[in-house]
Symmetry: C2
Subunit: 350 residues, 2 copies
């Protein structure tokens, strides 16, 4: 920047003004500086800017596994939404590791990112500081962590209910829920499943919630395989808590020669891209990832602005905090049921 300043015959500060789009710069000066900028191939040092201004233009996104299609799609949506705001995303893969997740909640990414979007898996409730984190943080999806953290995601109970209601409408009565585990997410989807069955008056003996450790294709496959080898009567539908499980289930059914949807209907959640290409194409609950990403970034922004006091400039003090708005569980984001062949019974029963 000093070089550019000399080359253009102005002060360093003026160059900074031009670069950062300060209003009060004469057109003549701006043009001259701009020319020098181009000529010398100036590139802004984002580190230095971040150090001085306290804002880096980065947002960190932490997800358990990037290879899981849902998280990949989520990441893509966040990256795109961030790009629209001129923000760069720093993707961190926690591997679902408790320790890594704890470090994130403790602020491990704070000074390099203006805010953190965190999709927790193990979600260590005890690991969040009692007073809440001292940096902008938004949770994605459901989790076990403190209620005081802002979060963005669909209403899992409603989503599960919608999926199961669809199966009921197709005439299914012995519906297996696949995916219950220790997570809050799993609890909620099981809850929605139960609500739908209760409301439809399905006899309790027909409920079956299959526990699954991880929501992956592998576990879906193995669990359904085991289910089919069991002695009980065949279910007429499987509600998988996510599409990866459903994909595994479809594979297991296919391998066992069970016809889908004629013998067993299948529904998943997430509507990952591959769900349109399974055998048969998978019915799924599709969250609007763009809305999730957009809203999450908006909430981060609100926090950043509300907490303007800390580390922004040389002088201290700021607004007394707007507190409301982003605090508390925000409104759930929209989702819709995408019906494909895997759940379309030839002749819906009465």
């Amino acid at each position: 920047m000093r070089d550019v300043a000399e080359h253009a015959g102005v002060s360093v500060r003026t160059v900074s003004n031009v670069v950062s789009g300060y209003t009060h710069v004469s057109d003549a000066t701006r043009a001259r500086v701009q020319r020098s900028l181009d000529e010398l191939g100036y590139k802004m040092d984002y580190l230095a800017r971040g150090l001085r201004s306290g804002r880096t233009g980065f947002v960190a996104l932490a997800v358990p596994f990037l290879v899981e299609p849902y998280f990949a799609a989520l990441a893509q949506a966040v990256i795109q939404a961030a790009a629209r705001r001129g923000i760069t995303v720093l993707v961190e893969s926690t591997g679902g590791d408790r320790e890594v997740e704890r470090r994130i909640l403790a602020g491990g990414l704070t000074n390099v990112a203006d805010g953190v979007l965190f999709s927790a898996l193990t979600a260590p409730a005890a690991d969040v500081p009692p007073a809440g984190p001292d940096f902008p943080l938004v949770m994605l999806g459901e989790h076990n962590v403190s209620d005081h953290l802002p979060r963005v995601g669909i209403d899992n109970v409603a989503a599960a209910r919608t999926a199961v209601e669809h199966l009921l409408a197709q005439g299914c009565r012995r519906i297996v829920a696949l995916g219950r585990n220790g997570s809050e997410n799993g609890r909620q989807r099981a809850e929605g499943y139960q609500q739908a069955l209760s409301a439809a008056g399905v006899r309790r003996v027909n409920w079956l919630v299959e526990p699954v450790d991880d929501w992956t294709r592998e576990h879906g496959y193995a669990t359904v395989r085991r289910l089919l080898e069991g002695s009980g009567p065949l279910p007429d539908a499987i509600f998988a808590f996510n599409d990866a499980l459903a994909v595994g289930a479809l594979r297991a059914l296919d391998a066992s020669g069970v016809r889908v949807p004629d013998e067993v209907a299948v529904v998943g959640v997430d509507d990952i891209p591959e769900s349109a290409y399974t055998h048969p194409p998978l019915t799924s609950i599709a969250p609007d990832l763009d809305v999730i990403a957009e809203r999450a970034l908006g909430l981060l922004d609100a926090q950043t602005r509300a907490a303007g006091r800390t580390g922004t400039g040389d002088a201290a003090e700021g607004a007394p905090d707007a507190d409301a708005d982003w605090h508390g569980p925000s409104e759930a984001t929209p989702f819709r049921l995408v019906v494909r062949e895997s759940s379309l019974r030839p002749a819906p029963a009465p």
Copy 2:
């Protein structure tokens, strides 16, 4: 850091020495500083360190689309390999946009990352500076960009040849190649396809290379759909240039009632996770992503060290450059053929 220094009764510099693991610090001092560090909850500011030391501990990874399973898997591998080295990965999604890719080659990520791993899609050959980039850069996979850039990836010609040889061994003779496009990658896989057919003495009239714009499920589906509706004789095998295309092809075959592998065998490249769960499970060429990630980071490291002169410290000058080693096309990384049902003909022809 100043606070910690006061609290421990030492100079700021000594705290820095402790934090960065400098050798000549007495055990007593180290312990005392460490205690203050913990007590005050000190967190290193990576921006400041990066600004002063010239190294940030970040590596940027630029891929076209994170939702494409291959790139997600690649990213995951890179993130893991980087974590082992104490490096954080900054993931950038170019969207395959020419302008974005140009900006990356121009060094848009330089001062925030110590090096860049770049998986180019449009690969603008003209956009790389004639003298080569002035920052550590490693290309992932094949590309059209300058030969002088170090790159890491499998031998695409050999991979394609292997895939096609496998189909030939299964008795297939009328093999369609699916995926030729403008990319270098596509050219090489087509080349391997041709080599295998030539070597096997398959009559030229049986060659068929189907062009495809993007290597996605959608394009694979649409292209095969069109192929099946055509008047020509049915192929007995499809060699898809990647698994996403193969997945689309499988869906199209399934939708048209064509049995796989009995009527048409299918092979893909990449061995993405979902390939083990398709109908039927997909035979594929599996690159070793861990080796790719590891080697790529190693090459970056070599470049970083070789170019130690620029911007490292206050004084100038460094080693006279090792030049060799990372220069020129490095040895191809290993791959293997993973045989699944999609290519297993019931009775291999003579």
